[in-house]
Symmetry: D2
Subunit: 342 residues, 4 copies
């Protein structure tokens, strides 16, 4: 606690942005959240009233000009990520940015280059599952040889069905289910398999509940296979239509054992038995599942900015996740195998 | 298959009796079920038509006189057990008898004496759980030191709530919930703890759903504690009012580990998830839980009669189960600690 | 029990054949297993001594000539299935045959035609999982609308790792992992999705433990995707290398819920807790998982022969399973998408 | 955030005290932790360095004299609780105090009286499980009739075996296993059953691992029964010798269903399968199980001090827990049924 706190500004105060802001204000030590930026007046008022943030800006450029700011937290639309990261780097700020880095590989490369020119500045993309205690435990067990050589990952990101289908309005810009949902699983597969090079991908999908997604070439349930070099394999399942909750888990198979992470994640530890059997609830959304991981992620970023530890994931990792996600999306849309050149 | 089959008669063809008969006719090798006895014409007709049993008697004495019979299977009311076993022994037959041996300790002792005078005849009381694959596996692990020295058993026998309350009509003769339900748990506790001597007992109960049981001094939910020598302890829970099914399990705690047997027993391996969460069914009655154990029990008895292996439990075991069960019942009725003298 | 028993002969007394023979001799009513056929003297001796089968033949043609035989049970190598079924039909016998019908689609069609010409004879291929109590329960729930419209199946058949690798010697004739293991999952997917027409398939694989399989174009872990008409999808995983046991389960996703069948199948109901955590065992092979289903399957076949119920699966089902399995195998070997024309 | 923060001092900076202090400093809004008290210099230094607490006292009276303090947090030895609460009340401070209120019923009554004379001051004893999300969910379900009328609670508090047996040194002052461990379960049983009046108690115990506890009349495993009015029952199990971890759970049985809370609590969501089966870890101590509940408890106390909500438990509740715990301890030591007069 001896060093100066990291002075931080946050851009984007939507649902996830407000949660990041609350974590930074209350659950992360060594940081001072002193400025916020949003185009929406109500959100800024919330930041001021609820978190006591004195400096509120409607314009991102003004946020970057706020005196003494060390770093920015970007919880803005994906289409703005690349530009805003580059601007922040140009202004000499460390950057945390929500996933994905970008849906455009050219943008990814440009951000990598901009960051490479400022090696003293930290840039981290929020692949939050890497900071979940269960995934960290699994990673440790794997690197200690607990399952022999890992060679296969099965992972799924399945959202609860939204009867209103509000998410459909974002379909045009989401990049499709594989870039929106599976990108987490892609990152985990690469991490847990030791970052092998992706070779080719195939994917299929269906519109079981939301036919309107077809207009965007998108599906509400998708299955994908990906081959990596060294005989490593991955299988991804993404869905928008789970009736029971957010059902996200990962399996890693090795030559002498396997690990499963997060199966049947429950919101609490209550089980009820009545005349229709035994029941338990399932977490309803990604935030309920990964609330602690969002805090751990922010702590890790601040620690890196303070020079206490290195960043656990790089812009190259984020670029590969986009590269593979795009291949899956293309394979599903074009009904063909997509070779991945990197 | 070289030896002659054991020629067997069964007495009692109620619900459980018919299941024993079907097992003996179809799932147990080395036995010929050739005679049956029941006071109810329909039951005998079923035995003849359904199982092809040619010789049907309404009188137990006639069954015992059937030429060439080696052994009898008694699935008759508890009040008849002691007399019928003694009669069968006098007629030179091996005897399998459903639990409990008797609710009367004097009867238990008389049967023990009668059997002791005919050491070449086998008498086994059907404590079926000892033959369940899971309990056998647990027993093996314990005797191999898998949990260190076992010193505490918690066991429960909880029946599904019967909205009609048909079982209440048997309350006058059941001996109460501890002799009717917990007697299995008492036998398991003695078996899994290494047959220590019981010292004293205490029990409490309530009538949560069936107030009519009070007329018989009985309860629909009972909790009991029992102390054994050597610092060994047991806790029993018995219930008639489980909304979800037959919920029967056992925990054995040792100095270096513990075992749980049969928790959340399901009728099959299906789990459903829908908008009210994740669900699984629970077995609905003791027969669904222990169907295979009833077959294994009959196989073990026949093997003993054929001289292929010794009986896994004795009349002394059955007597101790009654002794402890009576102490629990007395403690609950009289609201006092009962010393168990044996 | 009034009708005559079905007089049955069995061909093939290897490990699985002996289990079928024991079931037929002891656990299936209404059948008389009176003849057996095997080229191996010891197996015939076992049938005679252990099961009391009087008529033992080394030659299949002699078995078919045994007087009064109603039906045959074929537990012979896959390469013999088509010929032996056709011969049995020509001899006027009902036929039960282990899966798969054949690895050759032409053979499948020829058997279908031969059977079509003898409509009074029953022919059933042993897709045993359809007779498992859990799969039957799931099927019933699905057909009753319990999960809405089913549209996606994920299924896996994963065998325990065999350190000796004995199975590799059968690789040349097994048809590869997708025809040997996934064929069950393919049949289940078709059954549970309502028998949609398969459109195209893709598959990938690796040799994580058994490099020698490469000589046969085979893999020890395979992942496959299959598209059906009506927007239905399936994903299959097959493995020879599970360290912990036989890990076989199926998930069916519908528009208003999902079902999981057989996850974490345990050999019994014991859980152990010690200083390394809480543990449970997993079934070690397919027979431990499906022992009761093998009995139910035989009962269903005998019931059909006795005219008591119709066959639950047809030769057309068996043919489709081979057709899809071959497409998966081809996709994996040739690294391309395979269109399935039927 | 508009109101003034509650100015708080903490007394006691042992292991649990430091965790309370960290929670108050970092995870609870609306509070300013500005003073600490401990007789141990190192602990005060930690408070200053690690949490930035400027005002550190070795003497409790000095803490109470610190200008402007609104409330104190007592994480001190149980023997000091009653006196320190009374002193704080006399100094006009709100008080949060770790459980139990006192092992002496007279002390409990004196504190109740002192508090009654200062009705504007809030006093809360830290029965932390009432603030656990799972217990709160269970409580809500029960009060909404989810299991009919609740009538039976089974609860256990079982600590991980400590090979060194460090806890034995506290045996002389702990009040025995029922007051030290089961007091939580007693409080939960009263809460979940609707605060019925306790009538009588019985308990037994053993020393399976720590014979030295006998010197203090204490046991390392204890089982207890308690009767309440209205036919309500409870069964408690407490242990110091669990090999696998902190195994604490609660079951509530009602007339139309039951709830289980916290069975098999795991530190994370990882399951491993290898050649010895499938494994998961168990939480190792009460803090791992209830870390979030400690935060929620502090938030609830601060909210009450700020007048935003009322206290969820009273000194009368804490007194009853001691009363019943003493009856259990007495029953175990004196081997008799203890009538509970309140």
């Amino acid at each position: 606690m001896s060093a100066q706190p990291v002075r931080l500004g946050i851009a984007g105060l939507g649902r996830l942005g407000r949660r990041h802001a609350e974590n930074l204000a209350r659950r992360v030590a060594g940081v001072e959240l002193l400025a916020a930026c949003s185009p929406i007046e109500d959100e800024l008022r919330w930041a001021n009233t609820h978190l006591g943030i004195a400096h509120c800006y409607r314009d991102y450029a003004d946020l970057l000009r706020h005196p003494g700011l060390d770093a920015v937290f970007l919880v803005t639309p994906t289409t703005l990520h690349a530009t805003q990261i580059t601007q922040a780097l140009a202004a000499g700020k460390h950057v945390f940015c929500e996933k994905p880095l970008s849906l455009d590989l050219g943008d990814c490369e440009r951000v990598k280059q901009a960051a490479a020119q400022q090696p003293h500045l930290h840039v981290m993309i929020g692949f939050v599952r890497r900071f979940d205690a269960s995934y960290r435990d699994a990673y440790t067990r794997i690197t200690q040889g607990g399952i022999g050589t890992p060679f296969l990952v099965r992972a799924q990101t399945c959202d609860r069905l939204d009867p209103g289908g509000a998410f459909v309005q974002f379909a045009a810009s989401s990049g499709g289910i594989f870039l929106d949902c599976s990108v987490h699983d892609i990152d985990l597969a690469r991490w847990l398999l030791g970052a092998p090079r992706a070779l080719r991908a195939f994917a299929i999908g269906t519109n079981a509940v939301y036919p309107k997604l077809r207009e965007f070439g998108d599906v509400d349930n998708g299955l994908a296979l990906c081959e990596f070099d060294g005989g490593k394999l991955a299988c991804f399942y993404a869905s928008r239509t789970m009736a029971h909750g957010h059902d996200t888990w990962t399996e890693v198979v090795g030559t002498s054992g396997k690990l499963v992470i997060g199966r049947d994640a429950r919101p609490n530890q209550v089980e009820t038995s009545d005349d229709s059997g035994t029941h338990f609830d399932v977490v309803q959304d990604f935030y309920a599942r990964f609330a602690d991981a969002f805090v751990a992620e922010a702590i890790a970023f601040i620690a890196a900015v303070r020079g206490e530890q290195s960043l656990p994931l790089t812009l190259a990792d984020a670029t590969e996740a986009t590269r593979i996600g795009q291949a899956l999306a293309q394979a599903q849309r074009e009904r063909r195998i997509v070779d991945i050149v990197d």
